[in-house]
Symmetry: C2
Subunit: 469 residues, 2 copies
């Protein structure tokens, strides 16, 4: 059935009990068949959720080349500016393009009508407040709702621990401003979200890239070695469904990371922007969940789950609370009030949990389907991550494929992709790209196929062939 396309990658197949009834065979027979399919990686079991069709793609790299080199000597790097990121960001606004470049959510999965209704209702309800400053730390109602949500991630925050920001980007920016000075070195998991690299550059920070593994996240072992050898002012990780790799750090690693940083008294800036987007199971914990000393500055937003244009993010900066408030006041005074009110109302009564269930399912399917399309369209040897949350895919193509050249070709065809080079100060990811699966659909499948053909061209292996079995 999978081969015939009755079930497509990422879809749930009938349960053992259902199929046993449907086919009138015993439960044990179906179970044996499913185990066989699971062994061949045609389907996969997900805890408390059932069986799903696996992406029909080359085995994802368990430990790709990521960061294998570059750890011998710790040379904090300056970040190259380059207009490329600027161009990619500008392209995001162009509705004529297929947007696989920026990690923006699917507009169809934004609860626009409900949000706009709440925006209107709350502005009416809080007539005077809605036009006045929501002075930092920002809307108390919103902060209270956030603390309630974060209980799920093992964080016991009080409303007064939180500062509302203009998206998670501003949260990270404020955190960096609060604890770093120009010339300081920042340790980051590598590869790292390109906008952050640009931010480090603009703040005059030097970057020490610590390799990440697709299963464990940032290498605690390498980080420890670096902490011994180099003065590191702060550490930044995207802990859950990391951008670009989609990694969710195992809990034990989170705990160890915090213990290590505590030993060296180094603050951690933890970006948890995708924490609400696991494909299945519980919301993951955060490093902050273990933080009793206020060492972790937890940053997040509703830009991936509700509406990026509302620019509602937050930071729980621990012991750096006053410094962050101060940075917020001097750089923009406050974030817009009406969108804070609307998000607060959505969290209070808008069915945020239900909304999350729906979009998680959609992004899980899109991610699997896009990975499948990549597997079919891209040159043999292409590897792709298998994220467990969020909505980005990271591709390692054959080393002969220059991702910058691929970016240029794709752009000419009205397709944006994010070339690997902009995710690092090194050239380690020159043959990698990040794709935004949120905008994958049957309507944009052609664009994956087109980029795949271009990659084939660049790889010098002739026209695309079906790379599955």
């Amino acid at each position: 059935m999978v081969a015939k396309g009755t079930y497509t990658p990422g879809e749930r197949v009938p349960s053992i009990r259902q199929l046993s009834r449907q086919l009138r065979v015993s439960v044990n027979t179906v179970k044996a068949a499913y185990v066989h399919l699971e062994d061949r990686r045609i389907i996969e079991a997900r805890p408390q959720s059932g069986y799903y069709v696996c992406p029909s793609l080359p085995e994802p790299p368990r430990e790709p080349d990521i960061g294998a080199s570059g750890t011998a000597a710790f040379n904090p790097a300056e970040v190259d500016a380059g207009g490329l990121v600027m161009r990619i960001m500008a392209d995001v606004m162009d509705p004529g393009r297929v947007q696989f470049g920026a990690a923006v959510p699917d507009p169809a999965l934004i609860p626009a009508e409900k949000l706009n209704r709440m925006l209107a209702a709350e502005s009416r309800r809080f007539r005077e407040e809605s036009t006045g400053y929501a002075m930092p730390p920002g809307s108390l109602r919103l902060r209270t709702q956030i603390t309630r949500r974060m209980v799920r991630s093992g964080c016991t925050l009080r409303p007064d621990d939180i500062i509302i920001t203009t998206g998670a980007t501003e949260a990270v920016f404020l955190a960096l401003r609060a604890v770093c000075s120009p010339g300081d070195t920042l340790a980051v998991g590598s590869p790292i979200h390109f906008n952050f690299l640009q931010l480090f550059q603009s703040l005059g920070l030097r970057v020490l890239e610590i390799p990440s593994s697709p299963t464990d996240g940032i290498s605690i072992e390498v980080l420890e070695k670096a902490l011994r050898e180099v003065p590191i002012r702060a550490c930044l990780v995207i802990s859950n469904f990391n951008n670009p790799l989609g990694i969710c750090m195992p809990d034990e690693r989170k705990r160890r990371l915090l213990a290590l940083l505590a030993r060296f008294d180094v603050p951690l800036i933890e970006d948890d922007i995708n924490g609400d987007l696991p494909f299945s199971g519980r919301r993951p914990l955060t490093v902050k969940s273990w933080d009793t000393a206020g060492r972790v500055m937890l940053c997040a937003s509703f830009s991936k789950t509700l509406a990026p244009g509302y620019r509602v993010g937050w930071i729980a900066p621990g012991r750096h609370f006053e410094a962050v408030i101060r940075q917020k006041l001097v750089t923009s005074i406050a974030s817009a009030t009406p969108t804070q009110l609307a998000v607060a109302e959505f969290l209070t009564s808008g069915g945020y949990a239900r909304h999350l269930r729906a979009i998680r399912k959609a992004y899980r399917a899109k991610t699997a389907q896009m990975a499948d399309a990549v597997g079919r369209a891209f040159p043999p040897g292409t590897r792709v991550t298998r994220p467990t949350g969020g909505f980005t895919l990271w591709l390692e193509m054959p080393r002969t494929v220059d991702s910058l050249a691929l970016y240029g070709l794709a752009r000419e065809q009205g397709i944006t992709i994010a070339p690997g080079r902009i995710f690092s100060t090194t050239d380690r990811f020159g043959h990698c790209i990040r794709l935004n699966a949120a905008l994958f659909s049957e309507k944009t499948r052609w664009a994956v196929e087109a980029v795949g053909r271009m990659a084939h061209q660049l790889a010098g292996d002739g026209p695309a062939q079906d790379s599955t079995d």
Copy 2:
């Protein structure tokens, strides 16, 4: 009639023609009487507007002590942080206080209902756009409306010259980030809006305070001397109805300022946040109006005229456009979308010009009435500016009055004021305070009287006396 309180300070008295009819005396008799009253500064003529009751207050200082010292040697100063500004900003949120400290508009003069209606309607109308990023430079419709408005100030801007920001504060922040590096020296008109001083400090900038006169604004002569002697990276002025002095730089001075800076190839950050708030006559020009070389980075917002909580500001950064866009992207990606849409709609069809006429009149009256109340309540020798726009008053009290002590006493009584010390890196303004006249009314008159009594106490001259004749 004025003495009896029939007409209160700031109010318009009958025209010569009207009064001649009412009193059945000749036009010439009334004219002579008015000239007499004008000579005694009981009423004043305003061009194309009629005669108004003067504030009954001591003659405002033509050239106060401001900056008379400190110009001998040019020693760029580091800014002292201090928690005082933080506390003043935090106090702004406290609805239980009389807010004379921060320069916030009168909530009663914010067109909240209309704005909220537009917020709702525009979000419905642009369903998808309203939740998506308004990527920099931001809403085209809003930028187009701004260029149309700015024709009045002699600025011929194209929509593509403008970048939408999170208020004017972010605009100035981005401008500074675009052209300055830590350690650079910035020349500013002194005294200077305290939030800017804190911003300079947080950016590691050194400040060279150039004295301002209440009639001419920043001293071009002193600035020229400084430019010859000290390396100055950029200059920042609040050109129109300056905060805190309320100065509107004469056009000729604006032109000369630009010519001077051009000669030394120094960019100008021009804050025009109050430009839309003249008490009478035309909207003033900006320095940018003469800028053909893209040297001026013009910053403004709708925080004083529409709604501070909407956080809609903008910058026209001239030749530094790309650098500012880049700073905006890396620090917060974009400003909130819905409030941009609402302000764009207000400018398009909300009667912004009519709204401005109404609030200008109100702020003119409030400023005059508060100045009058100050004149009656404060110790003899207190001087107060007579601004021609905006809504702040600057008081020079007898030198024995310590404004920090006054701030502390006032705060205990639930009244906030802005002590002069936070407007400078020097201690030149220790006996000055800034008051926000926007929140002056018959309901808050008691607070001016209370602060006046405290000032009497600190001046050591016993209880308040009526200082008017």
